[in-house]
Symmetry: C2
Subunit: 191 residues, 2 copies
């Protein structure tokens, strides 16, 4: 998506070959006009798929997921990071490892809000190693729901998540895929 790529080039900060900061418009300060347009893209990509629920993970995916759910006219569910090691039997849970923070979080979704009738579109702001998506897919599977696909704002194409998930047959639509980046030469996108 050209508009997004231009914005990433303009306002993103390439800290090093791995770290891209987009916190001025995507995941700390949020440009809600831009996010509405991203949501329209997700809607156009998945409008034939008859989804009835949008699923994301707290916190930075919630805003774009909310605009997306609004366009589809379906509820949004966000998976919560659980603080406690004891998981109640009323929730579906999965472990999500964060390479950025070097830790593993349990994420949970109440069994009330996901079931075998659901056709789920997963929305998230970033895809790098794919751990969050694997966790959310696991939760969708445990609920007996159908994983229709994922909509990602920024994919780091040089990290293994996207390829691995697509090789597993999952539909992953990323609005911008960073092929490579470094602080001196900037960002190259995949098309």
């Amino acid at each position: 998506m050209e508009l997004l790529e231009k914005r990433i080039v303009k306002d993103g900060k390439v800290v090093d070959r791995d770290i891209l900061k987009v916190d001025s418009f995507l995941n700390h300060q949020i440009d809600v006009e831009l996010l509405s347009l991203l949501a329209e893209e997700f809607y156009n990509l998945y409008k034939e798929s008859n989804i009835n629920k949008v699923l994301t993970i707290e916190a930075s995916g919630i805003a774009v997921a909310a605009f997306t759910a609004k366009l589809f006219g379906v509820p949004l569910v966000f998976a919560k990071k659980s603080k406690s090691a004891n998981i109640s039997e009323n929730v579906y849970s999965a472990d999500v490892h964060s390479f950025t923070h070097g830790n593993t979080n349990k994420v949970i979704v109440s069994k009330e809000f996901l079931n075998s009738c659901d056709k789920v579109l997963v929305i998230d702001d970033f895809l790098a190693n794919g751990q969050a998506l694997i966790g959310l897919k696991e939760i969708v599977d445990k609920a007996g729901a159908e994983f229709i696909g994922a909509g990602i704002v920024v994919e780091k194409g040089f990290q293994p998540g996207g390829k691995m998930l697509r090789d597993n047959g999952m539909r992953i639509e990323s609005l911008a895929i960073v092929k490579s980046m470094d602080p001196e030469n900037g960002i190259v996108f995949e098309h």
Copy 2:
């Protein structure tokens, strides 16, 4: 707001005299249609105030804050819960005590995204003891920005936060104020 009160009565669960669960439409599964209407209420309440930024705190306030920011045509900033005790000098921080979880979190906002030109509307899903709002107000003050007011979805009027903040001169607009509740007799709202 009658629509919201009816929804709370219909789908909220009064666990005891203190705990109201509204996670089927507000803070786990999210009814985005309802939240859009709540955002319109916040817009109508504050449209004369010339705000230029919406501020919330992760995670469950983000969706309603995003719809609100969209109506105002201004950016949304969400304060992050910091995992580390070491706070960088690039952020404004405040301590927020949670009575529910019995702990204190540091919340932070990058100095890049809040400054003395900002007129800030704070949006959150719940107001009980007021600790989150006090923390966000502290961050707004540290940035030299102007705190215009707060928009709250559900206020527990029987807890001290709302009164304390209003007594301090803060404008607090709550769309539903629960006066009292218990599992047998249900919920009484303040009007």
